[in-house]
């Protein structure tokens, strides 16, 4: 006390002491000291939630940097992105990382979702965690959809047109939904303003709340252990969250960072051509890969099935699928009872297969738009 801190460690200790005299951090300390992570052959899946969180943080940081130069109007959006990529120092890097990280985020999120599904981690007491997680899934897909339009290039413009068209197929309220999304009857500058507000304000606010609950629940309840291991009889090995698990997390996060850098340098995100609402749609409009399976499915549904529009049926189908996933903790009675649940296992396999096959078909199948 009183002497000048001579090393980093001493500095940290002094800072800690200063805070301790003012705030009671004992609860937090307990958590940090005692939080453990179960170690078993499925431990690897535990990393994907944190990875998704890390990528989200990257999105927030790069997003904040981008919005210092981006202009959300139909006249200036494209040029502002062009400006970022050509004139602003390292603008190309920030922009490419933001675009690539968005895709990586959705990918890790899907892995996280399905690993939780297949390990049945949604069962009691973690139903709320699952619900908030599904809400986050929807939020992040919407992040991706709204962000995709912001550069206001040709592909984005038409992809948004198609996407909002599909949203408009929801029975009864579809037209209203499409109008609210588009800020009008067509995709215009109003749509851009709206998507920008959604992307930088509404969704981040929602995420803060929902993610906060999601993370709080995870801290409160700890990590779920797959049923077979729980019921296996053996004592479950654990490792302390800090520093063991966290350091491993960091390895993953740093690797992701290296991958993002490589992608930005070798596969910079395209600027494209400025959107021209009066030009005809270019051939081969496609949504981003995480919407591809839905897009391709709609292509395969015949135009009319009986008296109902094929597209309406498709949209309803997706709604039912989403609802199923959302309610799975309540539908999977066997797991709730602690039994094996082969039905839900195979349903899960079916869903994953469907998504993979349809996505691949979307890229490979002949007969683009």
């Amino acid at each position: 006390m009183g002497g000048f801190p001579r090393s980093l460690a001493e500095l940290v200790k002094a800072a800690n002491a200063w805070i301790e005299e003012r705030i009671d951090l004992s609860g937090l300390r307990e958590l940090i000291r005692h939080k453990v992570v179960p170690v078993h052959r499925h431990t690897i899946w535990y990393y994907f939630g944190g990875m998704t969180l890390f990528l989200f943080v990257i999105q927030v940081l790069t997003g904040i940097l981008l919005l210092l130069y981006y202009r959300p109007s139909a006249e200036e959006a494209f040029e502002s992105v062009q400006f970022i990529v050509t004139e602003v120092e390292f603008g190309w890097l920030i922009r490419s990382i933001h675009s690539w990280s968005a895709n990586l985020l959705v990918a890790t999120m899907m892995i996280h979702l399905f690993s939780v599904y297949f390990t049945r981690a949604y069962r009691k007491p973690r139903e709320l965690t699952w619900l908030t997680g599904m809400a986050l899934f929807g939020i992040f897909l919407f992040f991706g959809f709204s962000g995709y339009l912001l550069p206001w290039n040709e592909l984005a413009y038409f992809a948004t047109k198609v996407g909002t068209d599909v949203a408009g197929q929801v029975p009864l309220v579809g037209h209203l939904i499409a109008r609210v999304l588009r800020g009008g009857d067509d995709v215009t500058g109003a749509t851009l303003s709206r998507f920008y507000g959604i992307h930088v304000a509404i969704l981040p606010a929602l995420t803060t709340v929902v993610l906060g609950i999601h993370l709080f629940l995870v801290q409160q309840q700890g990590m779920s252990v797959p049923l077979e291991i729980e019921q296996g009889g053996q004592p479950i090995r654990t490792m302390p969250f800090i520093p063991h698990f966290l350091l491993r997390d960091l390895v993953g996060w740093l690797s992701a960072l290296a991958v993002l850098g490589a992608l930005a340098a070798y596969f910079p995100w395209e600027l494209g051509v400025k959107a021209d609402p009066f030009a005809p749609a270019p051939a081969g409009i496609r949504p981003e890969w995480y919407f591809m399976y839905m897009f391709q499915t709609l292509k395969y549904i015949p135009a009319k099935i009986g008296p109902i529009d094929g597209e309406v049926l498709g949209v309803l189908g997706f709604g039912v699928g989403g609802l199923f996933l959302l309610l799975v903790p309540f539908l999977d009675r066997k797991t709730a009872r602690g039994e094996k649940s082969p039905l839900f296992f195979w349903i899960g396999v079916g869903i994953v297969t469907y998504i993979v096959v349809l996505s691949v078909l979307g890229y490979v199948a002949p007969g683009g738009k």
């Binding site: 980093l8 940097l65 210092l68 130069y69 202009r71 109007s73 006249e75 200036e76 040029e79 502002s80 062009q82 400006f83 004139e87 602003v88 120092e89 390292f90 603008g91 890097l93 920030i94 740093l254």
Partner: protein, 147 residues
Amino acid sequence: MQTVTSSRRGFVNFLMGSGFGAMAVWMLYPVVRFLIPPKSGEPTIASVTLPWKPAEVKTNSGRIFKFGSQPGILVKTPAGELRAFAATCTHLNCTVQYREEKQDIWCACHNGIYDLNGKNVSGPPPRPLEGYKVNVKGDQVIVSKGA
């Protein structure tokens, strides 16, 4: 045993520390550079502020300016009115110029002639020149799309 372990530990800590330190600097540098605004100021293109004052532009003259990635031509008609058009000839994309002896806009490549409304009046050009809006705010001439 103790000494080896602790110096080994020291090395690992050092490696980690310097790795993270280097990373911090390496990543902070682009962010700081990004935050400092570039010389060019701001993106252009839906509108452009020309580098000439309205009074500087002589009557019955024209000059080329850059509008986004395309050339534009600013014209002051013999009557003193400022007009602006896309300067890309609609024939084969040469850059047009103002002709003061004929008081028209001319393309030197194949003798295409446009009147001071941008309309193609003679020669190969199939379409008129795209017109731009010209606004004068005090000492500034601002050209924007959408005449």
